[in-house]
């Protein structure tokens, strides 16, 4: 680490890890419920567990992104964060809002809008929190000695993510209109501006880890991220099939979302090529694993599996089935989960001064979690295809179908156990690094 204020990042990463663990717990609650062991039903009914599982995902990723920004921006701008105390205030308020929201879900304090269940009064607190975060980041950036493309793209991603939260707060009486704008938040986050954030983090990591010139990496990465972003914006149409809007969205959504895998493919090829091209080998092997893994798994999970059910002709059958869960799990893991774990793996040794660059524990964490997640994806996929045939083709009753496919959830949970074992190794590694210290400051900023 080069600036003392980068230490803030550690605590955001720690919050991120805590929320990740909670997310996994709720995942298992649902898994057991699916095979009939729904003993917690009175306290955590399935719909609550589902909302908590998805909301925690978003918050741990956001906390990871914020940590990444607090680590990357001072280093790129070459100055200390403008106000460290306010950064801690922001961290605590984020945690408090998150806890209130999650606890509230268990007492039916929520809006029944998929992925944006957080109740309206808390929405305003989220807005204030994010404004504080953006203020700190942007002020640091603009007072800094230099404004790199990496830092600008990362900040723009975070800024637009904040702005795109607002359409989700518009009140509508019509279900169709509400859905229409709700997807602006959900889709334009994950297939739009979050890709800018991912691009910013990926570029920072590739510059640090491969030693390839900043100019080369920044030029190509932003072309690719730009393409991904552009196909993603009109790709929003794939959420508008058959929901009650104009049918031109079938054409627009079909064509533009069919292009999204190309951009992910380009990103994967690019990251691997930069790795091959790089002459300097950074000793932090684990960070390199996670970085390249993110680029490759996001192509498979977001690109290929997304394409598998994005065309309207397919989606009319697969809409709202476990096929979506299949895509969702590997896409979020590859594109966003792994990039957050990559920046944590890169920055932890620098923040704490303990250089666990390449350990058996780290490798176990990487391979177990990835193989486990791929297994889960396959289990979801098989269950999803079976569900589509039984429910949509043979018109069987929904609950009867669930009974038929419950065996796949046993397989799912076995694979999930493997995944969780990997994550446990990762968190042990996180814990063993200890807390950040000023002794880890590098003598001269290079």
């Amino acid at each position: 680490m080069k600036y003392k204020s980068q230490k803030v990042a550690y605590w955001f990463f720690a919050l991120s890890m805590l929320l990740l663990v909670l997310q996994l717990v709720y995942g298992f609650v649902m898994g057991f419920a699916r095979i009939g062991m729904d003993n917690l039903h009175e306290i955590i009914p399935f719909n609550t567990a589902r909302a908590v599982h998805t909301n925690l995902l978003v918050v741990w990723l956001l906390s990871g992104f914020m940590g990444a920004a607090y680590y990357i921006i001072p280093e790129e701008a070459q100055r200390e964060l403008v106000n460290v105390k306010l950064a801690y205030v922001q961290l605590i308020s984020l945690a408090v809002v998150g806890v209130i929201a999650i606890v509230g879900y268990h007492f039916n304090y929520w809006e029944g809008r998929k992925f944006l269940e957080i109740p309206r009064p808390l929405d305003y607190l989220v807005v204030v929190n994010v404004l504080l975060f953006l203020g700190l980041i942007l002020a640091t950036l603009f007072k800094g000695k230099r404004k790199t493309t990496t830092a600008l793209v990362l900040s723009m991603g975070l800024l637009f993510a904040a702005l795109l939260y607002l359409p989700g707060m518009l009140p509508f009486d019509s279900q169709v209109k509400d859905s229409f704008f709700r997807w602006w938040v959900v889709h334009l986050w994950v297939e739009g501006v979050w890709e800018l954030i991912m691009g910013g983090i990926l570029s920072f990591l590739l510059i640090k880890l491969t030693g390839v010139d900043r100019e080369v990496i920044e030029k190509w990465l932003y072309v690719i991220v730009g393409i991904t972003f552009l196909s993603g914006v009109l790709g929003t149409g794939h959420h508008y099939y058959y929901i009650g809007v104009n049918k031109i969205w079938l054409i627009v959504g079909g064509i533009f979302s069919a292009l999204e895998p190309l951009a992910f493919l380009a990103m994967a090829l690019f990251a691997v090529n930069m790795y091959r091209k790089g002459e300097k080998r950074h000793p932090n092997k684990m960070a390199l694993y996670w970085t390249l893994g993110a680029a490759i798994v996001s192509f498979v999970g977001a690109g290929l599996l997304g394409f598998a059910h994005t065309l309207p002709q397919t989606n009319i059958y697969t809409h709202g089935t476990l096929v979506t869960a299949m895509h969702g799990h590997l896409a979020f893991w590859g594109a966003y989960g792994m990039i957050v774990l990559a920046i944590i793996s890169y920055s932890l040794p620098n923040l704490t001064g303990r250089k666990f660059y390449d350990s058996t524990r780290g490798r176990l964490a990487y391979w177990l979690s990835n193989i486990g997640m791929i297994g889960m994806t396959v289990a979801f996929g098989v269950a999803g295809v079976a569900q589509v045939y039984l429910e949509r083709k043979f018109k069987m009753d929904f609950m009867e179908v669930q009974q038929e496919i419950s065996i796949h959830f046993v397989v799912l949970m076995l694979c999930a156990t493997m995944f969780v074992t990997g994550i446990v190794f990762y968190i042990i590694d996180f814990y063993k690094h200890g807390t950040p210290t000023d002794e880890a400051l590098e003598a001269s900023p290079a």
Binding site: I251, F256, L259
Partner: protein, 190 residues
């Protein structure tokens, strides 16, 4: 020519980036055109009747306008290669004026179609008509902005000005090419 042999493929006129963009554009429009042909096959009667509602005279006129514009664009690049910036700028202006003429004719055509009630959502053929031509019009407008920057930029005698002009010309020719695919499919095919 920067390098001979197979490496030349990485140094096309205007740089590789603009060509990646062009390929992606062609793939995108290509998918849309194929989808349209497929849907036309599902409902040939409606597509044929809708096609007859378009004005092929205006379409032909616009094709000629855009091709002439491309011709002047090529002349402009040729002039700059001979370091004749004055002539290059004059040809660039002709190319841009013809680009605006295209937008004018297109605007008139849109005005008529809206007047006849043939708007987006009228039927599947017109959905494709509007989406494809509007996306193309957006590209023409972007192209005109790029050419405008070239016209202003050429005053400064910077070393990369030929590269920049070639990249802009490649983009402008792409607009011609896409129109050459759209015109027969929309106005003549069904």
């Amino acid at each position: 020519m920067k390098t001979a042999g197979k490496n030349a493929i990485f140094y096309p006129p205007g740089g590789i980036l603009i060509w990646i963009l062009i390929f992606l554009e062609l793939i995108t429009f290509g998918i849309a055109l194929l989808a349209m042909v497929y849907e036309g096959g599902q409902d040939p009667v409606s597509f044929h009747q809708s096609r007859l509602l378009l004005n092929p005279t205006l379409g032909t006129l616009n094709t000629l306008i855009l091709l002439s514009s491309g011709y002047f664009m090529a002349l402009s690049v040729g002039a700059l290669k001979k370091d004749n910036a004055q002539l290059a700028k004059r040809h660039l202006v002709y190319a841009m004026l013809l680009g605006f003429a295209f937008l004018g004719v297109k605007g008139f055509e849109y005005y008529q179609k809206i007047g006849d009630g043939l708007v987006l959502g009228y039927n599947t053929f017109f959905d494709y008509y509007w989406l494809l031509t509007l996306f193309h019009v957006i590209h023409v407008i972007v192209g005109l902005v790029i050419l405008g920057f070239q016209w202003f930029g050429m005053r400064a005698n910077h070393p990369e000005r030929l590269d920049d002009l070639e990249a802009s010309a490649a983009f402008w020719h792409m607009c011609d090419l896409i129109w050459l695919l759209l015109f027969p499919l929309l106005y003549l095919f069904f």
